[in-house]
Assembly symmetry: C2
């Protein structure tokens, strides 16, 4: 298998953690978003959307969208599982993952910030305020749902990592990078410390990638 990745892409980071946890051997192909390599013809033949990550399977099929890729990996490499067995608990984990993947990350993505700068003339202070606004909305919800369902252990769901943790850790990494104050989120912070103590999360981190600038 081959993964198209960029060190700072948090969607790529999610998939890198999944691959590490599954112990799947994969070749990394680096796509430099700062040089717009994701928009080049060669890459768009692999992924017409021009986003990273994309996973090329052993049968040479290209899969896109980080959550779809992670669910695929979980189906073809079931150990260790990245979702609970019980449908209600699976829905809880998927909801947490989607708070990050649908309600925070798309709004704070590079393309959005670029559009703000190029098309709407929104200055860096306002861009940062926007960035923090969606982090706060999302993390407030994430923390409240962790508290309400009372299923948290060392990780979002009990004591093994799930797709919720795979989405959370890269988003918190971005929050740190953009000077967002995380002190209102003790449950999230505890989970992130526990995740980052695992070597599988560590080797997937942006600063440990070969393309880290």
């Amino acid at each position: 298998m081959k993964l198209y990745t960029y060190f700072r892409s948090s969607a790529s980071y999610r998939v890198r953690i999944a691959l590490a946890l599954k112990g799947v051997d994969v070749e990394y192909q680096y796509v430099n978003l700062l040089k717009d390599e994701q928009r080049e013809v060669a890459y768009k033949q692999a992924n017409p959307q021009g986003y990273v990550p994309a996973l090329v399977t052993d049968d040479d099929v290209t899969l896109t969208q980080s959550l779809a890729i992670i669910e695929y990996l979980d189906e073809v490499h079931p150990k260790p599982p990245l979702l609970p067995e019980n449908p209600i608990e699976r829905a809880y984990v998927r909801a947490l993952a989607n708070i990050i993947a649908s309600d925070i990350h798309p709004l704070n993505n590079r393309g959005v910030l670029q559009y703000f700068e190029d098309e709407l003339n929104i200055d860096s202070e306002q861009r940062k305020k926007w960035y923090h606004h969606w982090l706060k909305q999302g993390f407030d919800a994430f923390e409240a749902i962790l508290a309400a369902h009372n299923l948290k252990g060392r990780f979002c769901f009990r004591d093994n990592p799930t797709i919720a943790d795979l989405c959370l850790v890269p988003q918190v990494y971005n929050a740190w990078r953009f000077d967002f104050d995380m002190k209102a989120y003790p449950l999230i912070n505890d989970i992130v410390v526990n995740c980052n103590s695992l070597k599988e999360f560590d080797i997937a981190a942006p600063h440990n990638q070969a393309d880290a600038a």
Copy 2:
């Protein structure tokens, strides 16, 4: 079961289609987003995020996030299936669903347009341009992936509706409402016509809801 819904919420619309296809009996509880009822204490006790939809199960557990709810419904009511059986094909369907749910819808959501108006003083013409920009980016990718994988039949995946169709139809409904020109998307348009010819899609449509204004 009970579904918190708002007629024009496209995430609610997705779940309404799923419930209709599954033939599940559900009580609708209407949350008027124009009156900000989703931010009231009573609703936030059900869903701390204050978004619709939310599904209250027969065991009185509240599930949130439309895709998590739909995957749950598919797991507890397997017929008719809303995902293919093969993992590669499941990943294709989930990727299409996520293009809508992560790359278009969050960027064009009511909260974003409200923030533009209230905080950034972005006028209605610029808001419309923004709205169309993300529709174009997302639908271009959706159409290209439909063409590349060659799995389209009457629906996104062969001849039965999947979660990809459940996400696509509400997004196209929004595109029409915001005067977006759909003529560049023959594959999408064909699928939407086929979906809307089914009574399950029709009864879930915004204009057929009891809370339609």
